[in-house]
């Protein structure tokens, strides 16, 4: 017995050393970059603004302003609605793609997966500009509609609207939704589908009762992966949004830029993080109730 322990110990020690080495980079990033930065934001949120880098004193005034000024609620709500629409559009359009990839793509699957990730080969800004070209006044969409005789005058209704933000973001985040849904669909045992048809289920019933519930974890994961970063986006509304689609990210960015009030920007960030946390908790609750497979 003791001989066995003696034989195992160096092995165990070196494997724990190996584990520690492997964990080190991640731990460094987490503690130095993420947690330290978060702590700094939290600290800054409770400071007063005197124009200096770290502010002065200790105050909850920033939070009081956020809570009492309806503007910040309006803009946060607008961001949640826009991000919600983006999530809905992304997941609804990604699902059929993922479904095809998982069940019907056959030997073309590798090629299609490659094509799905292709947009990532160019910069995000280029993709936004591509959408500007499509949606602009003299852009692709307007020209096509006029050429085909549907409209006689080009319309301003495409660019610089919240709808343009939703379309652009939905396109940009499509791969983030397709991949988790694809993984969820691909891991459904094919025997379940055979069993469903053996028991007389029509294809649609099989989809509704077997495939959809089994793929819910992937759908929820996709929704979170799309929703969380889009709430705080500020580049897209600035480029294709116009004044009516100012999102909370724009306001936060301006506090750290032109408005020169870092403590207030930090307080806004903390509030947005809390709101997103709430949404994530609700989604996790939904996942536990509807999403789990067993």
């Amino acid at each position: 017995m003791s001989a066995i322990i003696a034989a195992r110990t160096p092995e165990a020690r070196s494997s724990s050393g190996f584990r520690a080495t492997m964990l080190l980079p991640g731990a460094l990033v987490t503690f130095l970059l993420i947690l330290f930065a978060l702590g700094l934001v939290l600290f800054l949120a409770f400071r007063g603004n005197d124009g200096s880098l770290l502010g002065v004193g200790l105050t909850v005034e920033n939070f009081a302003t956020v809570a009492t000024d309806p503007l910040y609620w309006t803009v946060t709500l607008r961001s949640l609605v826009i991000a919600g629409l983006v999530t809905l559009a992304t997941v609804v359009t990604a699902y059929p793609v993922a479904y095809y990839l998982a069940f019907h793509a056959g030997h073309r699957r590798g090629l299609l997966l490659f094509l799905v990730t292709l947009p990532f080969w160019t910069s995000y800004l280029l993709r936004v500009f591509a959408w500007k070209i499509v949606l602009a006044y003299n852009g692709v969409l307007n020209s096509a509609l006029i050429e085909s005789g549907i409209w006689s005058e080009p319309t301003l209704a495409f660019l610089n609207t919240p709808a343009a933000v939703v379309v652009t973001l939905a396109h940009a985040y499509a791969p983030f939704a397709i991949l988790p849904i694809y993984v969820a669909l691909d891991t459904i045992p094919k025997s379940l589908l055979e069993a469903a048809s053996d028991l007389g289920a029509r294809p649609f019933t099989a989809f509704r009762r077997v495939v959809l519930p089994n793929s819910m974890p992937g759908v929820l994961a996709a929704a979170l992966v799309v929703f969380v970063p889009t709430v705080g986006d500020y580049v897209t509304p600035a480029m294709v949004g116009g004044p009516a689609s100012t999102m909370i990210g724009t306001l936060i960015q301006s506090q750290f830029g032109k408005a020169n009030d870092w403590p207030f920007g930090a307080a806004l960030s903390v509030c947005v993080m809390l709101v997103i946390l709430l949404v994530v908790l609700v989604a996790r609750g939904a996942d536990r109730r509807f999403g789990s497979r067993t």
Binding site: S14, V75, N160, K258, A259, N260
Partner: protein, 356 residues
Amino acid sequence: MAFHLKSLTGRKARAGLAALALALSSTVALAAEKLQYFTWSGYELPDFNKSFLAAHPDGVEASIFGDDDDAFTKVKAGFRPDIAHPCYDKVARWNKEGLLQPIDTKRIKNWDSIFPVFKNLPDLQAGDGKVWMVPWDWGNTSILYRTDLVKNPEASWNLLWDKQYAGRMATIDAVHDTPIVAALLAGVNPFDMTAEQMDKVAEKLREQRPLLSSYTTDMTSVEQALASGQLVAAMTWNASATSLKKQGVPVEFMKPKEGMLTWACGFVMLKDAKNVDLAYDFINSRLDADSGKYLIQSYGYGSSLSTAFAGVSKEELDKLQLPADPDVMLKSTIFTGPMKQNDDVAKMFEKVKAGG
């Protein structure tokens, strides 16, 4: 086995770290030899400092900003260029933060050719023959409109508040442009206002927001939108007027009865500038009469040098709507000096833009 692996990874990691450190230090060394120049987009063109590049090939590295308030916060947060290019109204602010070092005018060879109206600006004076900023360019902010789509408008900033052009106008997303105009229209002194007066300015800005297609500093997009007819009028600087007229787009740069805004910008040296000698060479090269002439002819902006205007014909200046003497211009325009409540106006403007 595992032990071997460990020592191997350890050695590899050390070698990797050493290589990384070497790479980092070499880029740092490389960067230190180049002048770091922080400027408005479009102002980094090599033609503006030909003699500098002849003496120091590839000797300047430019970083770009779209608005000098953003530039200020970036520098305040630790970005350290050698030379930056803010406008006059910001100099006192940069200075108060202790970001600048005085520039010795004795080392600026064309200092005497700079128009006195710029040389004598109060916030520039550092005493003892030194200045905080060397003026280089000046120009106007006004409404650029399509003459075929806006027929004979009244010469007034009110055009940007005209409901019949809703959705087809844009304005500049900068505190020293749009809020100043709103203040002028609200009958408030833009450079020093009380809290109640600021509310009036905010009210004026709120009135404008639903009519705008965007608040932007991206002048290329504005020019394209004006050329395509998506926009019929926009607040711009001279350069957009010059560029669209060169393309043959029917546009006019308005002379509003309330006055255009006239601004002056220039070079400041950052306190911890590493390349002071290079910086002086650079400023001197930018103050060659030829550089000034290029600025006038290509962008339609004024040079701070009287000698630069000597090389440009009167007809050309008339076409550019640019008098050879800034004093003449300033008689009918509003000079954008420092705004006392800059930060408060900035916060108010941000809120209005977001819909508050």
